[in-house]
Symmetry: C2
Subunit: 409 residues, 2 copies
């Protein structure tokens, strides 16, 4: 029975989850993988976190080199969160030939090319199943089950906080502020919720998922990002009357030479599988040219679901004869992201209930109105496919438009 020696960067919520999974399901993991796992060093300021897990105080260090340069360590688990110092620490580990398993989209997405290159040069592995979709095994599926497919589109509910909030706002006709407060009370939202509600968390994850799906590097800097802070219960209600459900979606579409890539609040038909995803659950939906539609659903966050993904990476890395690197970096294959040309349907919300005059006014500007709805002094229309450019032009001289929301219907 081979023993794999592990170093931890951080032993917070996720790191402790990994240690707990390794301890609780030790026998199962031995049987499944033929391996045992030993924690030999932990970068952590707080001694009580080791104590809580029954780990010897001597395993703790506050010096990164005692983990990255440790002669016995095979795999380093990076669960610090945030871009720095996590990204620099991972780079140092990879340069020292240590395989890295990370759950940290904030560090991975912006420095992925540097990390992939460092890994490739030293022959170490870089594994990141837990960095998008939490416990959902979407990275492995994209890497190892979709080789026969050109993927035309991938869309994800990849932020649980906002999914919870939009669900509650619709269900209870709650305001944004009420839903945020509830999410904070449940521990789903941080005291400063900007990273989640502004869409940045989803953009980091979309960068990773879209790159694997499109087989081109979709740089997080190129991903257009609109959060849910401007969404009102009226949007959800009026959209609901049109048979649509609002989700914060990360979407990437193959548009030939260009890629469409954005995180937007987006309406889906109520009958779409993604509309059934409630609470803080995540889901990733893709369309391949051979497999057609596939969806993966599960918990996108939480210590144990995330640890489940990290441990599957630890086993995968331990058994790999040769680690895999991203072809798109080696080939300099960067996606040209363009969101201005792609056509979409739009939900538009206005003051007043006079849908007939509104319809006439919008149609004079070249927009085709497909559906209308009214509620409590406001109205909304669903307009047919236009590009963002065309919509901006049409709405330029138009007063009273309170919201314009993408609709994938």
């Amino acid at each position: 029975m081979k023993t794999i020696k592990l170093g931890f960067l951080g032993l917070g919520n996720i790191g402790s989850g990994v240690a707990r999974v390794l301890a609780a399901n030790k026998t199962l993991l031995q049987e499944e993988s033929g391996l045992t796992f030993e924690i030999v060093k932990v970068l952590e300021r707080d001694p009580s976190r080791l104590e809580a897990l029954g780990l010897a105080p001597s395993l703790r260090t506050e010096k990164i080199e005692e983990v990255t340069d440790h002669p016995d360590i095979d795999i380093i688990i990076e669960v610090l969160g945030g871009q720095e110092p996590a990204a620099s620490f991972m780079r140092r580990a990879l340069e020292h030939g240590k395989t890295v398993v990370t759950a940290n989209k904030s560090a991975l997405a912006p420095t992925w090319e540097i990390l992939d290159s460092a890994a490739k040069q030293s022959g170490a592995g870089l594994y990141f199943e837990a960095s998008a979709g939490g416990g959902i095994p979407v990275i492995d599926v994209l890497n190892h089950s979709m080789q026969a497919n050109h993927i035309a589109m991938i869309m994800g509910i990849i932020n649980g906080t906002t999914n919870y909030m939009l669900w509650r706002m619709k269900q209870e006709h709650m305001s944004y502020d009420q839903a945020l407060k509830e999410a904070q009370e449940l521990g789903y939202a941080e005291p400063d919720p900007t990273f989640d509600v502004g869409g940045k968390d989803a953009a980091f994850k979309l960068s990773i998922l879209a790159s694997l799906a499109m087989r081109k590097h979709v740089d997080v800097e190129d991903i257009a990002c609109v959060g849910i802070t401007e969404i009102t219960p009226q949007d959800l209600e009026l959209g609901g009357e049109m048979g649509m459900t609002l989700k914060l979606l990360g979407i990437a579409k193959d548009q030939g030479d260009e890629v469409e890539a954005h995180v937007y609040p987006t309406f889906l038909p109520d009958s779409h599988m993604m509309s059934a995803v409630t609470d803080a659950f995540n889901a990733i939906f893709l369309t391949g040219d051979m497999v057609d539609d596939v969806m993966l659903y599960g918990r996108g966050a939480g210590a144990l679901p995330t640890a489940s993904a990290i441990v599957s990476d630890i086993v995968r890395a331990s058994k790999a004869q040769r680690h895999e690197y991203q072809r798109f970096f080696a080939e300099g294959n960067k996606a040209k992201v363009n969101n201005k040309k792609a056509a979409s349907r739009y939900f538009l919300r206005f003051e007043g209930e006079d849908t007939q005059s509104l319809k006439t006014a919008l149609e004079e500007k070249g927009l085709k109105v497909m559906k209308t709805a009214t509620a409590a002094g406001q109205c909304a229309v669903l307009i047919d496919q236009v590009s963002e450019e065309e919509l901006d032009r049409a709405l330029a001289g138009c007063t009273g438009c309170l919201a314009a929301i993408h609709a994938e219907v």
Copy 2:
């Protein structure tokens, strides 16, 4: 660029699909895998099938040994369907050291132990991603992403024909016969639909999925199987009034020393993700002790989705340094299946609309009525957890019970 040489057993709908995927996405597959694939021999009676794909007539044979014993062939794709001769042919191939990729649950499930053993002895691989859930990458997920989890429960909508029929029966208040006729016209159901509507197709697939999830061999012979032939639109309507949706589910649950394993029509809450699976789509839902709930959704049948899964197996098999075998066979770890003791809620349908008398009568027999519904001269009750044994006893002296259907609510 290494060339992998392929032999085909059968070039029907699925086999032709594989050949089409290999041709259509040849460049992508080369880039993704670093491999090229060449079809060198095809067991097939009908020359026109090779012709339709532009394959040379000289590749065709009607002698199995010309494929299984072919010195150049690396991997044999078995897509004949049916138990025999497919199972014997696979065994022969494995004994000759040829890795086998199969989509054939009817041949795999009943002879799996023999095939696994033959593969292990010769060092060949046995791959079967397409044998359950079609294009859905559920086998890979169970094998390589759930190592950190004890799986308490797995349930699947793993027969598209019956899912289509139940969906249409509810949607259009259609009779079973009408729904079957429609499914046959669409090509979803065979002229003799017994294999699908009787639940046997789902039982073969459940045997495979449940064995991987429970890490014990769940023999298809031990799986209790009830199809949808007795389901009426009244069941769907009355269940609908109770907020439930009917699905034909293959379910396996870890009950400690025993395993519950059955294919039954089963009610789920309308809010359950599986209730949103319409048309002929499939989905597999599981609960792990660490990852919590995970669901995978996609096309469970069709030439190209199935071929997508087969091609992912071909790539996986080609890149494997060492093939994997089932630990439960090596350890003689067979599941003790017992469906009599496990408690479940039940939907019961009766003649008449007098729910009050019915409730009293059922409660006198020790059944707890949770919900009632009436429609057009019939009524139904939802009763709380009882075992099959207890239910049988309670209903023994009870007249007028028209249907008793499992409810996972």
